[in-house]
């Protein structure tokens, strides 16, 4: 079935939008060459880091695939058949999603004007429910280089049950779809691998499933994936604001800004923003965990920096806090996991702080009771769909900022804290020139993978620190990125999340400089993302990517 949603009516548009619509990303030469001239080269077969046996059990068909690189040759191949593709946006917004779709569309039309592109409405659920929409030139053109996922919508649904797989298979049969491209993060691409495996096993028509690496959190990367898309734009948007606030702190000389940044499972966003803006303090969750620090340790550290600055006549500054910091603190992590179990098992809602404290282990009870009232309330408040504590609702910037202020008040230092959370402002921004180009290539390349029937692969664009004409297209088997984690008590293959590597170049660079940044005012003010003008202003890449690839 093909449903249509009403496209939002555009009454007016911004000047930037009307100009950016016609921006053509800068691209590697392979994208200009005819598909008939593209050659595939198969490389090695990477070994997943997780237990092979467990992974093989789930992925009998797609285990052991080889990495792919594409190049251009002069050998003419036979004429190409049109592709019929459905694209799915999965999970939270990331700038550039529409450009992935534009790249897919342009590639499909180049293969043959008979090709068709459909969009699943509202994410994976749309695929299961058969809610898809044909995407035509007008639609694609009106979303080129824009942020958001509003062209077809996204969702957090998953395709896991046999009925759901069957439903997707039926959709493909009904609409003669021969390829599915899933744009998502680690979970969504894990799902893509299952779908690929399913079609390899069950489907005579041989639907190809390809993934594209999306997440502003930056935690979907490895030796094949240099960065996920959206990270560049989101961190630059946050860094614009952080830089402006640093400049304001330096001007007014009376406020301490505690800024929480989106990115729950890893601290890449906070680290990248710190490298871009040189704040006085930046907490890194992975370091806190590795050093087994307590909440009190963090409070003491922040208080020390503030006190020293105040003694030097600088009672102002900026402190960055990753959204997920709370979970990285081992004692709080344990508390949260005990609370999840406790509250999931109690049918009646337990709302009394005292009652909850009695039911926890002695350590967690102590930790719980040491927290301020509103944080305790957040922890006992609304659950997420899995019944878990909604860590993203915990205002860790207020928790830490207020505790530090209270501590320093006793020591005679008056702190004026201001609290910020930056998240939603960056998820749907107009993609930077980098993300616009990268995403277009990811989409175009996903079609090349589909054309070569590389199912279960993730689209890869490499050599990103070089000029875009030198970028390399290819694919990596999703299964090769798997580790095995316990999910609901069962060993389950999932894509390994990339946490901040404490021995990696970005963290080392931060570690080398942080005491200087703490004591001086060595702020960097990046300003807003530029789409035009001098190259160094509008085409730079993230510090993380620069440092990791250098």
């Amino acid at each position: 079935m093909i449903f249509n949603i009403n496209c939002c009516i555009i009454y007016d548009m911004s000047n930037l939008y009307s100009i950016r619509r016609s921006y053509m990303p800068s691209l590697p030469a392979i994208i200009a060459s005819p598909f008939e001239n593209i050659c595939v080269k198969y490389g090695h077969s990477p070994t997943p880091s997780g237990d092979e046996k467990t992974i093989k059990k789930y992925f009998t068909q797609t285990f052991g695939q080889k990495v792919i690189t594409f190049s251009v040759s002069q050998s003419k191949k036979k004429a190409l058949k049109p592709l019929r593709t459905v694209v799915v946006l999965s999970g939270g917004q990331a700038p550039g999603g529409h450009n992935v779709i534009a790249g897919i569309y342009d590639a499909l039309m180049k293969i043959s004007p008979e090709s068709k592109l459909y969009g699943a409405l509202g994410g994976p659920d749309g695929l299961v429910r058969g809610e898809i929409k044909e995407l035509d030139k007008n639609t694609i053109d009106s979303y080129r280089n824009t942020g958001g996922f509003d062209m077809i919508g996204s969702g957090r649904g998953k395709i896991t049950t046999p009925e759901q797989f069957k439903a997707v298979e039926k959709l493909c049969k009904d609409n003669k779809i021969n390829s599915i491209i899933i744009i998502g993060g680690d979970d969504s691409n894990t799902n893509a691998a299952h779908l690929a495996e399913y079609f390899m096993k069950n489907d005579d028509a041989g639907v190809v499933v390809v993934g594209c690496p999306k997440t502003i959190d930056g935690d979907l990367k490895n030796s094949s994936i240099e960065t996920s898309f959206g990270f560049d734009t989101a961190t630059k948007t946050y860094s614009e604001l952080i830089g402006n606030i640093e400049k304001d702190a330096l001007s007014a000389k009376k406020y301490w800004f505690f800024i929480r940044l989106m990115g729950r499972s890893a601290s890449h966003v906070a680290l990248e923003c710190a490298l871009q803006t040189h704040p006085n303090i930046c907490l890194i969750g992975e370091e806190v965990k590795s050093k087994n620090e307590t909440l009190q340790d963090l409070i003491d550290y922040v208080a020390d920096v503030i006190k020293t600055r105040a003694q030097n006549g600088k009672n102002y500054g900026v402190c960055l806090i990753p959204e997920g910091i709370i979970e990285f603190i081992p004692e709080v992590g344990t508390l949260i996991s005990e609370l999840n179990t406790l509250l999931a098992n109690s049918k009646n809602e337990i709302k009394s702080i005292k009652k909850v404290a009695e039911l926890l282990s002695p350590e967690s009870s102590k930790c719980f009771l040491s927290l301020p009232g509103d944080i305790q309330k957040s922890l006992l408040g609304e659950r997420d769909p899995h019944g878990n504590v909604q860590v993203s609702k915990i205002k860790s910037e207020e928790l830490i900022g207020n505790a530090v202020s209270a501590k320093l008040k006793k020591e005679g230092v008056k702190v004026s804290p201001v609290f910020n959370f930056f998240g939603y402002e960056g998820r749907s921004a107009y993609p930077t020139n980098f993300d616009a180009s990268y995403c277009y290539c990811l989409g175009y390349n996903a079609v090349i993978l589909a054309l070569f029937r590389a199912t279960g692969y993730m689209s890869t664009v490499q050599n990103l620190t070089s000029e875009s004409e030198n970028w390399k297209l290819g694919g990596v088997p999703i299964v090769s990125m798997f580790t095995v984690e316990n999910r609901n008590g069962k060993p389950t293959p999932v894509i390994q999340k990339a946490l901040v590597d404490l021995n990696g170049a970005p963290f080392k660079e931060f570690e080398k400089n942080r005491s200087l940044w703490a004591n001086e005012d060595s702020y960097i003010i990046p300003g807003p993302i530029q789409y035009f003008g001098p190259k160094e202003c509008c085409n730079s890449i993230t510090k993380t990517l620069q440092l990791e690839q250098s």
Copy 2:
């Protein structure tokens, strides 16, 4: 005395900073012409809106001055004497302050390389304490086109007592200063008028005092001042974020964003951002006051819009709330003023909600008790330096958003509110091309006023909707902008604040469209401020200015 502060050490700089430093604002022809060719034309003598007698009592010397316009002629005048000027930044940061100083510096050096520019450190207090610093070419050049007030710092101090006036006079004598330029909002320019009057009465040397109109709030404007500087940059920075959030709301289709915007005394910032981004809801304080609406009225209005959207399958959206909304609600305004009196008169801190409620009038008591606990706490919390409730600390977005969610829950509509406050991110941003040019002209023109000994004038740059080569330079007597207000029980001349005019074109435009914006998704996504590229992307002016001047 001349003090030196240590300039912040710049270890590194952003790419945008290194490019913007050498950006030359586009300017009217008069700025390129020699000072000897500039002619002054005196126009009419505007009548202040406030009681003449009261104003004349304070301003015997400067009352009745005429507006000034400058033009270029070929008549050669006598050689110019060097000026020795001190510049003061007063009040909160606004983007472009450094460019005002750069304009002043360049004009002074053009008059004569023997001219001197000093900066008062930390605002008016620096002037009183004699803490000034010479500003040389290197300093000026390293701050051109940057945001913030960190070159010399700012402050909220005032010059009011005879001793303070004397101290400023002594500073000028000691350093042979013959002109003072004060960059500030309505209060600071009122102060500038007093200083001008003082020097006219008391000083043989005849120090000239000139003001420049600064405030991101946009409430310092009138028939002579088309806009205050900083409003353009700040509203574009907020609109970038609001637009991104609108795009995110439209993509995820599950959140309602309640966004509080800086700007306490007037709702120009919220109105301008609404005109730039077309949110579903924007509250305007001046309208609330004029319609004598209650807090419950506002909650009902917002709830109605949300409910209607939810019924149409759009349970998401964006609601803008001006920071000062609370004070505009007549019943809350009365409550706050009663609380200010009550708490100022009670030596012991009254912290019990019940006790406070008993001491208020019946209406205010009812209003107070209807507020949520954390808002009551905010109202009784820390005072500002005048002993008043710190209205800016009241999270009106949470107050309204939570009340609306609670109301709609009872009616079966589940709202997922997300709260934001945008303020500090916009005060110190890199000035837009408009603000960079406008500020440079304001500063350059302030020096022309000083050269023509136009004391007690505010620098005016008019015809701002035209290309900058057509801008007109001149001056307006500050006293002519005065109204009379009761301050500490005494009729006092102050510059009239410009509130949102409910009959003005900007509000009318908003009013015409708001029900459409409420029901549809007619969001505009302006994107980040651009400094390069197509004119319409990097040189546009605010909707407020366009509509008011058209």
